[in-house]
Symmetry: C2
């Protein structure tokens, strides 16, 4: 582990940055990457962001007025990537060439020349904010928007248990820098695609309860997604639905990703450890939110994850 000061000094001496984001990109990995990219360009350095797939429409403001630059990569930075398996398409080319890893996942197991992981940061964008402060860069509204995006999306708009006083104070500063916080909140938290509405309805139809209604399970299948016209981004946040139900301690969402292959998200109310539950099935994550993958039929996958949840409930 390095200090943020060490990383700041290292970055100052380098150029030609490639910034890598994780698969299934979310607001925090994207916000971190575009914020850092903008900051580096402000320092007259070359920098590009690499993402998986196209940038979703709702995130398009992150790259506003930015053009891809042409240069030979000299410095590789990963943001919000906890594990090489989350590097996706970038793993083969970059896994052994990572210069700087900046993250906020306690279980980070990346190999990098320099590494800064602050697991107390609600979002990785808070680490990026501190780095940008140390780099002594003035935060303009576009940069503020990028940082704010990661903070608000990783905290459910300042709702989750991970929020700290620092989270709130950094958001206050970003608002003073001109970030369009209310507009970003509206897009992230108060706008749903029709496909999202359709898939929500389908998901609610799958609701089942276990363990005296303490465990709630929902799922999506590829057929359901097709009927709803839903793509990946329409499914974001679906995992929050079962845990919201009054009295539910553990909410489980299964997503059919292939033939007899399910990606599972677990959310807990803070009394039970989601990362322990998912760990039993080879996954991991945070205390209140974690994930794993299971091979088998839908019913087998449900049985396996419910068993893991029940074990954790009984601890």
């Amino acid at each position: 582990m390095n200090s943020l000061n060490e990383i700041t000094e290292f970055i100052k001496g380098r150029d030609n940055f490639v910034i890598l984001t994780h698969i299934y990109p979310d607001g925090d990995t994207l916000g971190s990457a575009y914020a850092l990219c903008r900051a580096l360009r402000t320092l007259k350095k070359n920098a590009n962001v690499l993402i998986h797939g196209d940038l979703a429409d709702k995130y398009s403001y992150l790259e506003k007025d930015m053009k891809e630059q042409v240069f030979d990569c000299e410095t590789v930075v990963t943001v919000d990537i906890a594990s090489p398996s989350l590097m996706g398409d970038f793993r083969e080319e970059y896994e052994d060439k990572i210069d700087v890893c900046i993250d906020h996942h306690a279980a980070n197991d990346m190999n990098a020349r320099m590494k800064y992981v602050d697991a107390d940061a609600a979002s990785n964008c808070e680490n990026i904010y501190r780095l940008i402060e140390l780099l002594d860069i003035e935060i303009d509204p576009a940069l503020a928007d990028c940082i704010y995006t990661g903070i608000c999306t990783d905290t459910g708009c300042f709702k989750f248990t991970n929020v700290t006083p620092d989270t709130m104070r950094i958001a206050a500063k970003l608002m003073e820098c001109g970030c369009r916080s209310a507009e970003i909140n509206r897009v992230m938290f108060d706008t749903k695609s029709l496909a999202r509405i359709n898939i929500e309805r389908e998901v609610l139809n799958t609701l089942r309860f276990y363990a005296d209604n303490k465990i709630a399970v929902v799922y999506t299948t590829r057929d359901m997604e097709k009927r709803a016209g839903a793509v990946d981004q329409d499914l974001e946040g679906i995992a929050a639905i079962p845990r919201q139900i009054e009295g539910v301690c553990t909410g489980v969402t299964l997503k059919e990703k292939g033939d007899n292959y399910y990606r599972i998200s677990v959310r807990t109310n803070g009394d039970h450890d989601a990362s322990m539950i998912c760990g039993k099935l080879g996954g991991g994550g945070h205390f209140a939110a974690a994930g794993c993958s299971v091979n088998g039929t839908l019913e087998e996958a449900i049985k396996a994850i419910v068993r893991a949840c029940v074990e954790e409930l009984g601890r």
Copy 2:
């Protein structure tokens, strides 16, 4: 208008406080009242809160460990009450005896001996926080919970346009005082009764679009409510659903209230005037949120309100 300093000095010289809240009590009037009451008792003064009806279960922590005190009222304070008409049951006895009015509604028209209205405050609890700072009272966790409650409920958990950097900084300080922010957020924003989940699913099944998908309509019937096991509080906020859909300018929600009788809520995205739409059918309200009632069958009611929406869209 008085300064908060003047009000602080006035309060220091008084005792035996009755603190009044508005009808249909929300988190901000309740949080303001219980926070002020706790602060005054810390100063060894007598103080009680008066509310309309019973304190809802989800707010019960506000009055934790507090007992009603017995004293003759000397000082009357109103919190978050914008107008005498919102004093409800308390109007007759107290309207002409208000010593201090503390509020954050620009249109406040209360008569009071001393008055402090800060319309830039996202919540009245922010005014109460400043008053408590001036009274030089240490904020314990229970007091912090009360103040936080008003701030988070009046801002949609820091989501709405009314949030300021000060809002965020006050929340940061309250967290440092030990407020149970995440737990309060969970109760206020992330908990849905099973009946609510059921009625949401039913409501989504009624979704229809008009005018090139710019108008979205949903409805609830008494049968649907019965099937879902839903009571009035389960239906709170349902009217926000159709307007959240991407591309929708006007969201309409019809609620069957009797035989061939529908209560209609209209929400707009801010480009169209909901009060004009509802005005055509004898109702009214605000620019972005209004309501009216219609006699007729469900299809007749939908036809009437859609026609009114289309007219407003074309303006």
